[in-house]
């Protein structure tokens, strides 16, 4: 494990996570959540968990964003809070 890189990516994870929570627009939140899962994938990679990173890359980056966008497409873009 490379602690410098680990620290940098952890910071990015936190920023992306808080950002995707704070954004009012649900489509923007879905897109930012994609960025969050990129960072998680990098984090797993740095820890050496290659299989988990692969799962995160395929599920988190690609398909889950598409599902979120499809769900936003069929419901609404506004959140209540």
């Amino acid at each position: 494990m490379i602690w410098q890189l680990d620290l940098a990516i952890l910071t990015l994870v936190v920023i992306a996570g808080i950002g995707s929570l704070m954004v009012k627009d649900l489509l923007g939140a879905a897109i930012l959540f994609g960025a969050y899962s990129f960072m998680m994938c990098l984090l797993w990679t740095i820890m050496g968990a290659v299989d988990v990173a692969f799962t995160e890359a395929s599920v988190g980056a690609g398909v889950s964003t598409v599902f979120f966008v499809a769900a936003v497409f069929r419901t609404t873009r506004r959140t209540k809070d």
Partner: protein
Amino acid sequence: MKILGLIIAILTGAFLIYAAVDFPDWADPTSPASTYLSPRFIEKTIEETSVPNIVTAVLADYRGFDTMFETAVIFSAAVACFFILRIFVHGEPGERLYRHVLTGVTIRVKEGKIPPSDDFERIDASWTPHDLIIKTICRLLVPFIQLFGLYVIAHGHHSPGGGFQGGVILGASIILLAISNDLRTAVKRMGEKLVGLLCALGVFIYAGTGALCLLLGLNFLDYAALASILHVDPITARSHGILIVEIGVGLAVMTAMIWIYNNVSSNGEYDEGL
């Protein structure tokens, strides 16, 4: 109320961080997991299953039950999506829009009737002209993505990957087709019934392999029993058994992804999608 939630979240987070201090360090050789469990797998996996990637062996062989029920969970998620969202309404027929390909004239046709000539193509209500670049590039890329997905499934023994990842990539290729053209194109290629059957078949392959082992006289999911069918020694049989199981997982995950996407994006009507 928001402030209360924030306080609770901060308290829980602080508690978790406090608890995490007691965790063993990353890759600490004296931690409980590394003292006897990991060395056992690291030393014995190759000679017991002849699979170089230990994670795959643990996932599909040593903890086969776990993975089987994970697959079942994904299957039931897709089925739940289907039961909640899918609509079969036989009310009064609605209208469908058809567009003349050459002139761009759009007409409305009652549902169940056929447009006047073959030059008409079915379009969505919120239709926009096809994007030439996206359509062409996706057409060229989809086969390569599918090949890569199959490669990931087939090489789960030697490199990272396996049924889950390969299945997701395969499903994503069909979803890409639905995004770049429209939903009906993808559904034409992979019909609804086919998707549902393949999804169930994937779980059936997994559980059926386990049951076959049981019938052949060993424990459930002990692939060494397959040696007599495949005409190989028990160690290679375990390796092949893992591959068979991975194919089942791949099928189930791929079709579950397509199924969920179709239902969510078309609101259960299988008519117009994202």
